[in-house]
Symmetry: C2
Subunit: 334 residues, 2 copies
């Protein structure tokens, strides 16, 4: 009997030896694209504290909810929010069916690549562009056009598909949180229906964990089958004070960690950190004109002003992209 | 070496012998409160087919989405939807602060227990009751009043807390689906905020998997902290043709199985079964006046008419409560 026990022990020791090197390698650096510094240390410290069962900051796995803005936090947003680029490209693709657009704003300016002309049409013009490019088709048809665009369009500066401009260090944060029992959500000002076709695969996040702005949809019968048709009517704008509203509606719990990059994320960060217990707030500060872009208070895209001041005042984690990230995009890697 | 291998094999055989009786017991009857019959057989057959990796109907775990109506499908809804009972009880509880209600409809009728008087005030009256009982407080305050009500109110017929009127056979279906890799959602005409305080514990479903009707909320600063305040304005009514709309918005995938009990669930069942591959639709038919209630085409609560015809025409599974359920409520058990 003693021999049997000893043999079993040898067997398990052999198993453990085989497994340990992998675990140690992961534990040694869960965030290999991050340089050592205060931002990386703050992320690791937070995760360690909320997952240490014997510690004062332990959080049960089902309460480990993290929310991430998308544009400028998980992928780039310059020179234009990518969904706006999609909409402008769609106007051009649809123009042959709409000869009247040659004399009609905002379409006339879109077709002439006159962005300042588009901008002067204001909110009304933007809604017309959304109606023309995001509505009037089924959810399945919209999904197809988004995927086709991602497969064919290229970013003007990098010559890469737009979804190649996802931040490698943030993918590592998502994976690190997932490995530590977190459920991460995207809470974007961008459209739910624009993100769900590609974001699950890109980020390892299920469609139901993707929250964003939406237009209304309506159930209709087509060829005897029920389909959801997209209407030219705003349902929800998931930005600023509406971000906590959307999180509460979709998730029903307050996150313990939130990640953003602009004033549009400020209320989400405030609401997250106002909860009880240990909380984590992070802002991606775009400081790297060489590898990505450098912008904050003066930029209309990804405007970061009040949230930067509040982050400094409250000691939230601020990522200095240039200093903190070894790699920005996966295509940068040697 | 041969001895070592043989010893290992003995060890694993011993392990398997220890485990098998449990598995066999579970496999023998995953639905012990269901009598053998076509409804139970249909549920088991569907689950077996979509989980058999080598079979033609296999569905990957992440696509195993099931949606359940709540009122009349997971718990009772007679003589009044329980959330309406909550609202009427709240009017009475709040009445001392509102002396004007004694002369104001719909409150006057509520306070006089005159339900037909309440009903004659129509949709306008109902919205006034919702505004008075569901809005004007924070989400956290509303949650507390719901939990307090559940802890104190008793169902007039059974003398039990309202959440004791959950159907034991349906809890078994939820557990059976969960054990087979399904992610189940509640998609109720009732309020998200009314269900989330108690439904996760009762059904084993996370708050984020509970979809329903909602009123609008607004982020406000109170005592220097951001809170979500409930507004007297309808945001979304999750019923009939809006059920697929809500499912698409919250989940972003079409369910492969849907469970309902009334015409309010018809479009959800149609949309679910219109998808590709094997699909499952089930209707709980209330046929048991003795243990629960018997009602369908003539009832205003849980009205079941067109959906019953369509279920019969299309061969959806119809649960005959009296015939199919050995136990209805857990407090019935001997």
């Amino acid at each position: 009997m003693y021999g049997f026990v000893r043999l079993l022990r040898s067997f398990f020791v052999a198993l453990c030896v085989a497994i340990i090197p992998i675990s140690v390698a992961q534990a040694a650096d869960p965030l290999p694209s991050w340089r050592d510094g205060p931002a990386k240390a703050a992320i690791v410290d937070f995760v360690n504290r909320v997952t240490t069962a014997s510690g004062p900051d332990f959080v049960a796995p089902e309460e480990r909810i993290a929310t991430f803005d998308n544009d400028g936090t998980l992928w780039s947003e310059q020179p234009l929010y990518f969904q706006l680029r999609y909409a402008l490209d769609r106007v051009k693709a649809l123009a042959p069916e709409h000869p009247e657009w040659n004399d009609q704003e905002p379409f006339k300016s879109v077709l002439a690549d006159d962005m300042s002309g588009v901008l002067t049409t204001g909110k009304k013009g933007l809604l017309q562009i959304i109606a023309a490019t995001h509505a009037g088709m089924t959810e399945a048809e919209f999904r197809d056009t988004v995927l086709t665009w991602l497969n064919t369009a290229r970013h003007p500066r990098f010559g890469q598909p737009y979804n190649a401009l996802i931040y490698q260090p943030m993918l590592e944060v998502l994976a690190y949180l997932r490995a530590n029992g977190f459920k991460s959500y995207i809470t974007s000002g961008g459209g739910i229906a624009f993100m769900r076709p590609w974001a699950p695969q890109a980020y390892g996040i299920s469609p139901e964990q993707i929250i964003g702005s939406s237009i209304k949809t309506k159930l209709e019968m087509r060829d005897g089958k029920p389909v959801l048709v997209r209407l030219p009517e705003i349902d929800f704008i998931d930005d600023k004070a509406e971000k906590p509203v959307g999180i509460n509606k979709f998730i029903g719990r307050r996150p313990i960690a939130a990640f953003g990059n602009s004033d549009g994320d400020l209320q989400m960060l405030q609401w997250t950190t106002a909860g009880d217990g240990l909380r984590f707030a992070l802002i991606v500060h775009h400081t790297d004109a060489e590898r990505e872009w450098a912008y904050d208070r003066q930029s209309s895209v990804g405007h970061l002003d009040k949230a930067l001041d509040e982050a400094r005042a409250k000691g939230w984690t601020i990522v200095d992209m240039k200093r903190d990230w070894k790699t920005v995009f996966s295509f940068d890697k040697k």
